[in-house]
Amino acid sequence: MTRGVWNLCANILELRGVTKVFKTGLTGKPVVAVDKVSFALREGEILSLLGESGSGKSTIARMILRFLKPTQGSIIYRGKDVWRLQGREVLEYYQEVQGIFQDPYSSFNPIHRVEHHLKQALRSLADGKKNFDEDNVIREAMERVGLNPQNVMGKYPHELSGGQLQRLSIARALLARPRLLVADEPVSMLDASTRVDLLNILAELRDEERMTIILIGHDLSLAYYISDTVVVLYRGSVMESGHVDEVLMRPKHPYTRLLLDSVPQLDKKWEHRMGLENGDQDYDELSKGCKFAPRCPKRFDKCEETPPLLTLGSRRVSCWLYADRQS
């Protein structure tokens, strides 16, 4: 299914060597937030970008959504370079690609009633305008995400709960009938008991409409619950990527293992002490070679060089440990 200028491609979205460098402080010292990241999504896939703070995951989301321009590399949506779109094409891009953000309260302008945000999207993004009753469409979108319109219409953002607002964010995005949804930590600020409901909504969108979803987050259990594919990031680089079962059940990269060891799970209690990491190192200073090497229990001489992204079966892993086992 294509609209406008978009082509049918094997991959709906592709990142090719995307790099983002920020200049910080008075001296303008460059910080590489995203470092030559490449991955692709097939239509109808749910992909999780997993990483801790400083992994560059949100920066990637903002580059895909056209809020930040990559310093290098390209982002290709259905055969078109997202950052070469012009004029009307940008609007057409937002009809295809929508986003939701982490903080439900700052996603809504505090001075407007909530339906303002939905109307705005409806007026400029929905196809075949004027032939429908605006309020009806908005009501339908609200019901779609499990909200009772009577409870939210006419309210200001601060009168609603975080969960209600986050559902409204999805409802707003849906009005454009997008094919790709970029969800930047959509549940991390919500109560634990409401997170899974929101993920279920996203899963339904994929199952019923074949919507493609990029989920950005740090919670491995939530990522496992909903994703087909995961990409594990550390300080701007891909450490490991592949099918969720491969990566999260049989991790290869030492960093993925560390993450999995640290995740608290309700079905098992930590048995051994992991021991306190030595706080003596400033990881930012050590930018030569593998970025994880300074913390890695398995590092060896080779790690002073940047490891290539190796393909092992269906997964990819960036670690010298596996250099001789590449298939």
Partner: protein
Amino acid sequence: MEQHTVSRTKEFLHHIRRNRKVKAGLALFAAILALAIVGPLFTPYGPLEPTGEAGRPPSLEHPLGTNTFTYDVYAQTVYGLRSSLLIGFLGGLIATVIGILIGLAAGYMGGLVDEFLMMLTNIFLVIPTLALLIVIAAYIEYRGIMIESLIIGLTSWPWTARAVRAQTLSLKNREFVLVARMSGASGLRIMVGEILPNMFSYAIMVFILQFGGAILYAVGLDFLGLGPTKGISLGLILQQAVLWNAIQLGMWWWAIPPGLIIALLLASLYTINTGMDEVLNPRLRRLE
């Protein structure tokens, strides 16, 4: 999340009502405004109407005495107050509006627009405004209150523009602005519909400061003889009082009352401003 049952406006008004500085400032300002509105009703004289008595001290007939030119100082003061308030209001309004528009456009649009507008702003900041005013004033033969307000408004917007630009820069990366962009809203719509309303309280504070600044500016211009060529204002009264040695001749009633009113007026505005700052900035707000 706790659901709030009080609307923000209500909360704002509540804190306004509880803030002593705002209350005191508003009361003082209201008193001065009342004097400007009803003051002229209590004198039979016009501001530039000779009474036939020169240099008389305050009396029942002339509450603030008369000056060397036989004008009634009370009449001059209340009429002068009217025009000073008008200049402050108009000049402040013009400066606030221009400053907000330029700051908003520069901050939101960025790039070349930003560079050009900020260059313009910086030029206006560094050129000696007073010298510019002297030149402008010298070329316009007839100068009324409107012209004076316009001159003041057109020269005192730059710092507002810079402050608004900084505010815009921080607002434009907030998620709700990004959401509006994804919703296909145009740049103009986002500036006017999303960013500007969030600066409303800030705009009021800026206006209060510009109001006071414009009054002070006008007094300065009048004092230098660049004020209105016709009419009367508090600054003009002061200028004449000083020019004709009112204090040295013992005619304190000619110089003190208009000076005092200017001081009180500015004090009231700055008190309102600091009080509002406390109300709008929760960190300065004291909890019970």
